[in-house]
Subunit: 221 residues, 2 copies
């Protein structure tokens, strides 16, 4: 498949680009509002893979161009950029599955709390912003981006997938399952997204309160 990483120049985009290219046969395109920045990051990701003797072409374009003919577009942007990112790419969405990994959180006295938008969840916000007929799937919310982006780190994590379109969910579950050390789990419809997103502040709180733990994910057992 062709996978566009909109806003793919941050840690989450970097981690997904590196691992999808290393572990799967999917074609990865890095998107950014600034096409020059996207190209620079794509080249840097290729160089990182090349230094490990891993072949893989990663191209960089502006978000709209990156999404052109993509099977899946992952919105690796903060919640407050979701709507304008979707607006910028909607002309190029055609049988594309949109994936929302963002979470709303706030920190008070060192403790992270889940802070959903009025839509109920950030995934629901993405679904509201998407054009009619374009499925939105919530996934990749609970990955510690730093560890994801470090190819020396082994993963042992579950990725939770939520959404109202069963075929789109299955497509994204297949994508996540392709990453070494990751298992995709169905977590229900879009209405179940708040509990999935709320796991992210919990991961941060647990890492902050236990000396021997950092960059956490979870396994369901």
């Amino acid at each position: 498949m062709r996978i566009a990483l909109c806003g793919g120049t941050g840690d989450l985009g970097r981690g997904l680009a590196l691992r999808l290219t290393r572990d799967t046969d999917h074609e990865v395109i890095v998107g950014s509002r600034d096409p020059e920045k996207a190209r620079e990051h794509a080249t840097e990701y290729e160089d990182e893979l090349d230094s490990r003797d891993i072949d893989g072409d990663i191209n960089g374009f502006d978000n709209a161009m990156a999404t052109d003919r993509a099977d899946i577009a992952i919105l690796c942007v903060p919640a407050y950029h979701l709507a304008d990112t979707v607006e910028g790419i909607e002309g190029n969405l055609d049988d594309t599955v949109l994936v929302s990994p963002a979470v709303g959180m706030h920190r008070e006295e060192g403790t992270m709390s889940y802070n959903p938008p009025s839509a109920g969840s950030v995934t629901a916000l993405a679904a509201a912003a998407a054009p009619d007929g374009i499925p939105v799937v919530g996934a990749f919310h609970n990955l510690a981006a730093g560890r994801l982006a470090d190819l020396d780190a082994t993963l042992d994590w579950d990725v939770l997938v939520v959404g109202d379109d069963g075929d789109a969910n299955a497509t994204v579950e297949g994508l996540a399952d392709g990453i070494d050390g990751v298992r995709a789990l169905a977590a229900g419809p879009l209405a179940a997204a708040p509990e999935v997103e709320g796991l992210t502040p919990l991961l941060i709180n647990v890492a902050a309160n236990n000396d021997d733990l950092a960059d956490l994910g979870v396994r369901f057992r």
Copy 2:
């Protein structure tokens, strides 16, 4: 230590009574509003352990008597019984740590959602109901009670502990760590309880949406 399981006649109480007696040296007392029911369940738990050649005395009393001289009292009751359960035992709380494992949830169209009380979390509700000076710790929220109560089942779970009294948290972490296959993790102050409680509906949704999974807990990795 002496551990009172208030409302300890349900699955959570049964699981904690059986496993604490089997895996630790703590003394377990089963409490119920109805002392006769408490005695019956205590005897049944003893019989279950005896059938596995495990020695252990488990006594049953009404909740107030069960809590007398207890080091820890675990409130194994639904959220809507928390306040009256605390009221029923408060005369016997003396250097006792109260533990709140309850979660507020609602189900809509087959999907579970976290439904906290106006206090912010059920753990905060318990803290508000407790007499001054009695520490309240949130723990054991995310254990699948059915698997916990089945001594043939092996556990591979983390127990998240929240609360504002560091000594009380440490006492409860030690208690949880004593159960075979359980690791206690500090998850922050009382303000972090909603994210801990919100994990429970997520566990139920994941179990409901994946054919090969049931009675889930989590490991942080």
